[in-house]
C-alpha cells in the first residue's frame, strides 16, 4: 500500500489489519439499553462527549454575550434581549446578569466541559480499549456516573431560568457574597441550585474516578504491565487520583456553605453588617472556604490538564512516527505534578492576609511544579525531532497544545511568585494565564483527542479541510484574544468588571477590549464549524476501511471498526511490548503493534 496515504486519511499498512471481523453482537439490544441507560463504556463516553459539547456551546455563547458588553459598553444589542429577556432589557446586559454570566461560564467550562466532558469522554473511551479490557470494572457505576452528571447538568440548567438568576459570585463562589441572600440576587435560589448541582457533580466525578482507578489497576490484559501502558492511561490514572482525593474536600466546603446559608451556622461568617442590619454570626472564617475550595481548585486545574497531556503525548508520537521521548520521565513528571498539585493551593490566596511565612512556602512549592512541567515540554519537542510528521488535525491540535502550554505555563511563574502576584492577582493577567494554559490548551488536547479517536468512536473520519480551518482560526484567535490581556493585567486592570469607563486608570483599554470581543465572536463561530463537522461526520463522514487508520501501536486499533459490547470479538489480545515501538517492523511498515511478540534478538524497551 502506498505510504503517502498515511498522511491525511491514513489508511494504513498494518499487516494484521486485513482481517475484517464480523460483528459479535448476537442479539439486538433495545434502544433504551443501548443508547440511553447503556453500560457500555463506548456509549457512555459518547454521552459524556455530546453532553459536554452542548455545555460548551452554551458556555461559549455566554462569553459572547458578556464580551459584547465589555467590548461595546455604550451600544445595545437587541438580539440579546431576544435570548435573555429582561436580563438584557433594551439590548444591554444588566450588571447582575453580567456577573451571573461570567459565573456560569466559568462553572460550566471548568467543571461540566473540561472535567466531565473531557475525562468522562476519554477515560471511558480509552481505558478499557488501551489496557485491553472488555469494559470498566463496574459498568453499572460507570453508568451512574453519567447519570449523576446528567442530573447535575439539569440542575445547573434550571438555575439559569429562575427569577433571581443563577449564581453570580464568580466560579469560585466565595462567601460571604455567596452565602448571604442580601449580598446579591444571585445568592438566592440560584446559588442553592449551584451548590446542589456541584454536590451531584462531585458524586458523579467520584463514581467515575474510582472506577477508572479500579479498572486500570485490575483489568489490564495479559502482558500489559503498568510500564507498558500508553501515557494516556497514565495521565487518566493520575487525573482520577487527583479527583478522588480532592473532590471530597470541595464537597465538604459546599456542604458547610449550604449550612451557613440555610441553617444559621457560622463556618464562613463573622462580623457582618448587611442589608441594614448586623448579622448574629461571629467567629467564622471567610478564608476557610477559600482553603477548602482551592484544595480542590488547584488539583482541579491539573484534572483538566492531565488528560490533554496524555493525549498529546500519544498523538505527537503517533503522527511523528516516533516513540515518545523519555517515557519514564513522562511518568515521573506526572507523579511529580500530581503530588505537588496538592501542595500549592494557597498560591491563589497570597493576598488574603495569610501569614507571609506560609506564603513563602507556597511560593517555593508552586515554582517547583514548573520543573516537571518543563520536562514534559522538552520531551514533547524531542519527540518531534527527526520524526516524519503528518499534519492532520489531531497532530496540529497536539502541536497547538504544546505551544499554548508553554505560553500559559510561563506566566504561572509570575503568579506563583507572591512578590509579583501581589500586584497581578485578580487582574486580567490571571485571566490570560488560566485561559491559555487551562482553557485553550486543555481544549486543544481535547480537540486533538476527538479528531484522533473519532474514527474509533464512529467508524468514520471527520472532515480534514474543516479541521484545518478550525485549527488555524482557533489558535490564531486564542493568541489574539489572550495575549493582549496580559498587558491589561500588568497595567492593573481588574477582572470581573462590568464596565471600565469610569476609571481613569483603565478606560484607555476600551479599543483593545472591543478588538478582543470581535475576535472572540469569530472564534465562537469557528467552534460552531467544529460542532457541525462533528455531528455531520457521525452520519456522513468518510468511512474507515481499515481497523488501524493512523498506524498506531495501541490496542484500541486492534478492535473491529465498529466493535460491539466487549470490544474484541474473540480473545482479548495479549501484549508483548511497550506502546511506542514506532520503528521499522522488518516488513516495510513503520510501527510494531503492542500485540506483536518480540522478534528473536529484539530487546524490549
Amino acid at each position: 500500500m502506498n505510504h503517502a496515504e498515511i498522511i491525511i486519511d491514513g489508511h494504513n499498512v498494518a499487516h494484521h489489519a486485513a482481517a475484517e471481523h464480523h460483528d459479535h453482537e448476537h442479539h439486538e439490544q433495545h434502544f433504551i439499553w443501548k443508547y440511553i441507560f447503556s453500560q457500555d463504556h463506548k456509549m457512555i463516553s459518547k454521552q459524556f462527549l455530546i453532553t459536554g459539547i452542548i455545555w460548551a456551546i452554551i458556555g461559549a455563547l455566554m462569553s459572547v454575550f458578556f464580551r459584547l458588553q465589555l467590548g461595546f459598553p455604550d451600544s445595545t444589542f437587541p438580539i440579546m434581549e431576544k435570548f435573555l429577556g429582561d436580563w438584557a432589557k433594551g439590548g444591554k446586559l444588566t450588571p447582575e446578569f453580567y456577573y451571573a454570566l461570567i459565573t456560569m461560564h466559568g462553572t460550566i467550562l471548568v467543571f461540566f466541559v473540561l472535567t466531565a466532558g473531557l475525562s468522562g469522554t476519554f477515560a471511558n473511551l480509552l481505558i478499557p480499549y488501551q489496557i485491553g479490557a472488555r469494559d470498566m470494572a463496574s459498568p453499572f457505576m460507570n453508568m451512574l456516573s453519567y447519570w449523576f452528571f446528567f442530573a447535575a447538568s439539569i440542575i445547573m440548567l434550571v438555575s439559569l431560568f429562575v427569577e433571581t438568576g443563577p449564581a453570580s459570585g464568580g466560579w469560585t463562589t466565595y462567601p460571604p457574597l455567596s452565602a448571604l441572600k442580601e449580598a446579591s440576587i444571585g445568592s438566592g435560589i440560584g446559588m442553592d441550585l449551584w451548590l446542589m448541582g456541584m454536590a451531584l457533580f462531585v458524586v458523579s466525578s467520584l463514581l467515575g474516578g474510582l472506577n477508572y482507578i479500579a479498572t486500570i489497576l485490575n483489568m489490564r490484559t495479559k502482558g500489559m504491565t503498568m510500564t507498558r501502558m500508553p501515557l494516556t492511561i497514565w495521565a487518566l490514572f493520575f487525573t482520577a487520583v487527583l479527583g478522588v482525593l480532592s473532590f471530597p474536600v470541595l464537597f465538604s466546603g459546599v456542604v458547610l456553605l449550604i449550612f451557613d446559608r440555610n441553617f444559621g451556622t457560622s463556618f464562613y461568617l463573622s462580623e457582618i453588617f448587611i442589608g441594614g442590619k448586623a448579622l448574629p454570626h461571629i467567629g467564622g472564617s471567610a478564608i476557610l472556604y477559600q482553603h477548602l475550595f482551592w484544595f480542590l481548585g488547584h488539583p482541579e486545574v491539573y484534572i483538566i490538564m492531565l488528560p490533554g497531556m496524555g493525549m498529546a503525548s500519544e498523538i505527537l508520537a503517533t503522527h511523528s512516527r516516533k516513540p515518545i521521548f523519555g517515557y519514564f520521565a513522562m511518568i515521573i513528571s506526572l507523579v511529580g505534578i500530581t503530588l505537588l498539585a496538592f501542595l500549592v493551593w494557597a498560591h491563589h490566596m497570597f493576598v488574603t492576609g495569610m501569614s507571609p511565612f506560609l506564603g513563602s512556602i507556597f511560593v517555593l512549592l508552586t515554582l517547583l511544579i514548573a520543573v516537571p512541567s518543563a520536562v514534559k515540554v522538552f520531551n514533547w519537542l524531542t519527540t518531534m525531532w527527526r520524526g516524519n510528521i503528518r499534519f492532520n488535525p489531531p497532530m496540529l491540535f497536539a502541536i497547538g497544545f504544546v505551544s499554548l502550554f508553554i505560553s500559559g505555563g510561563l506566566t504561572g511563574l509570575f503568579l506563583g511568585n507572591s512578590a509579583l502576584d501581589i500586584h497581578l492577582h485578580d487582574t486580567y493577567f490571571v485571566v490570560a494565564h488560566f485561559h491559555i494554559v487551562m482553557g485553550v490548551s486543555a481544549f486543544f488536547g481535547m480537540f486533538a483527542g476527538i479528531y484522533h479517536w473519532f474514527p474509533k468512536m464512529f467508524g468514520r473520519f471527520m472532515n480534514n479541510t474543516l479541521g484545518y480551518i478550525h485549527f488555524f482560526v482557533t489558535i490564531a484567535g486564542a493568541y489574539l484574544i489572550f495575549w493582549p490581556m496580559h498587558y491589561e493585567g500588568i497595567a492593573g486592570m481588574p477582572r470581573r468588571y462590568y464596565d471600565f469607563s469610569a476609571w481613569e486608570s483603565f478606560k484607555h483599554f476600551q479599543g483593545i477590549n472591543a478588538f478582543i470581543s470581535i475576535i472572540s465572536i469569530i472564534v465562537f463561530f469557528a467552534q460552531l464549524l467544529f460542532v457541525v463537522n462533528f455531528f455531520a461526520s457521525i452520519f456522513k463522514g468518510r468511512k474507515l476501511t481499515t481497523q488501524n487508520p493512523w498506524g498506531s501501536t495501541t490496542l484500541e486499533w486492534t478492535t473491529p471498526i465498529n466493535p460491539g459490547h466487549g470490544n474484541w470479538p474473540g480473545e482479548i489480545p495479549e501484549v508483548y511490548r511497550w506502546p511506542y515501538d514506532y520503528k521499522d517492523d522488518g516488513n516495510g511498515g513503520d510501527f510494531i503493534s503492542q500485540t506483536t511478540p518480540l522478534r528473536p534478538g529484539e530487546e524490549s524497551h
Binding site: 457574597l177 512578590a419 462590568y498 455531520a536
Partner: protein
C-alpha cells in the same frame, strides 16, 4: 422569530461549508495522486511557519500598541523593586518562550513527512533528561530567591513612624478613617453600625473615636515620602484594596483585619506632569468580586506634601461632629442624627 431565522441561516451556511469541505476532500481522494497529500502536508508546514512569524510580528505590534498605555513608574519604594523583579522574570521567561516556540515550529517544519524521510528511533537519554531537569530547577531557585527577598520586604512590619489609616470596604464604596489629633483609631464594633449615623460602628465609649475622621468618598490621603500603614477591613463581603500604581493589593475580609504598608514617593501633582495627563489620579480599585457594583467600587489616593496634607486635615470635621452637632454647618452631614431610635451615639456623649 428573527432569532430563529438568523440561527437557521447560520446553520445553513455551516452546512454549505461542510459540503464544500467534504467535496474538496473527496476530489483529492478520487484523484488519488500520492503527491497531493504531500502537497497538503507541505502547505500546512508552511502555514505553521507563517503563523510563527506572524506571531512574532504580532507580539511586536502588541508591544507598540500598549507601550503608552501601561502604568507609569511605580509610585512607592517597594513598587520600584517590584518592577525590577518583574523585568528579571520577564527576561527569564521571555528567553524560554522564544526558544521553545521557535524549536517547536522549526521541528514541525523541518521534520514534515516526505516519502523518503527516515525517522530516528530515539526513546530516551538520561543525559538530556538530567540536563533539562536541573536547568529549570536552577532557574526556579533563582526566581524564588529574588521573590522571597522582595516578599519579605513588602510584608515586613511597617516603619515605627508610619501613619496608620483604616480602609474599610462595603458594598459598594470605600470608607477611609483617619485617627485624628490623638493619632489613634478608636475601637469599633459591627453591632454598632448604622447607615444613618455610624457607618463604621465606632464605639463612642472609646475616647479615641471622638476625633476620628471618616472620608465617605473613599479618599486616601498620604504624605509623600512618609510611610503609611493601612488597616484593612470589610463590613459585609470580601473586597480588595487594589493599588496598582503602588504594585500592591490586599483583601478586605469581614471579621479580620489585614494590613499593608507603603511609602509613596511621587505626589499626585508630580504624576500628572510625568504622565502628561492633567486628569491623572491614583485609584483604589476593588479587586475582589463583591456583587453587582463591584466594578464601580472606586476610591482615590491623594499623595501630597505635608503642608497640603495638614491643610486638608484641618478642613475636615470629625465623624462625631458630623453626626452629633446638628448646628455644624457642614454639607457632608447628610443624615441628621435620628432621635431616640438609635441610642448608641447618645449614650456615648460622655466619653
Amino acid at each position: 422569530m428573527s432569532v430563529f431565522i438568523t440561527t437557521l441561516l447560520v446553520f445553513l451556511v455551516f452546512i454549505i461549508i461542510y459540503q464544500i469541505g467534504k467535496a474538496s476532500e473527496y476530489a483529492s481522494v478520487m484523484r488519488g495522486e500520492e503527491n497531493i497529500k504531500f502537497k497538503t502536508n507541505r502547505a500546512i508546514a508552511w502555514i505553521l511557519v507563517a503563523f510563527f512569524f506572524l506571531g512574532l510580528y504580532g507580539i511586536w505590534e502588541c508591544n507598540e500598541i500598549f507601550k503608552d498605555r501601561m502604568l507609569p513608574v511605580a509610585a512607592c519604594e517597594n513598587g520600584v523593586k517590584y518592577d525590577n523583579m518583574f523585568f528579571v522574570t520577564l527576561a527569564v521567561t521571555g528567553i524560554v518562550f522564544f526558544a521553545t516556540q521557535a524549536v517547536l515550529f522549526w521541528f514541525a517544519y523541518r521534520y514534515q513527512a516526505t516519502p523518503s524521510r527516515k525517522t530516528t528511533f530515539f526513546a530516551h537519554s538520561n543525559k538530556l533528561e538530567i540536563l533539562w531537569t536541573t536547568i529549570p530547577a536552577i532557574a526556579m531557585a533563582i526566581l524564588v530567591a529574588i521573590g522571597l527577598k522582595n516578599w519579605a520586604n513588602v510584608t515586613s512590619d511597617a516603619p515605627a513612624d508610619a501613619t496608620v489609616v483604616e480602609v474599610v470596604g462595603k458594598q459598594f464604596n470605600w470608607l477611609v478613617r483617619y485617627p485624628g489629633k490623638d493619632n489613634e483609631l478608636g475601637k469599633r464594633d459591627f453591632r454598632k453600625i448604622s447607615d444613618a449615623n455610624n457607618i463604621l460602628g465606632l464605639d463612642w465609649k472609646d475616647p479615641h473615636n471622638m476625633d476620628d475622621i471618616i472620608s465617605q468618598k473613599g479618599e486616601l490621603h498620604m504624605v509623600v515620602n512618609k510611610a503609611v500603614k493601612l488597616l484593612i477591613g470589610s463590613r459585609d463581603v470580601i473586597h480588595d484594596v487594589g493599588l496598582s500604581h503602588f504594585r500592591v493589593k490586599m483583601d478586605a475580609v469581614p471579621g479580620i483585619t489585614t494590613t499593608l504598608w507603603l511609602k509613596p514617593t511621587i505626589t499626585t501633582e508630580e504624576m500628572k506632569q510625568k504622565t502628561g495627563n492633567p486628569d491623572f489620579v491614583y485609584e483604589i480599585s476593588c479587586d475582589q468580586m463583591c456583587g453587582k457594583g463591584h466594578y464601580s467600587m472606586r476610591g482615590t489616593v491623594i499623595v501630597e506634601t505635608q503642608a497640603q496634607y495638614d491643610a486638608w486635615m484641618a478642613a475636615q470635621q470629625t465623624y462625631y461632629a458630623e453626626n452629633n452637632a446638628p448646628s455644624a454647618p457642614t454639607a457632608a452631614n447628610m443624615a441628621a442624627p435620628k432621635p431616640a431610635s438609635d441610642t448608641t451615639p447618645k449614650a456615648a456623649v460622655k466619653p
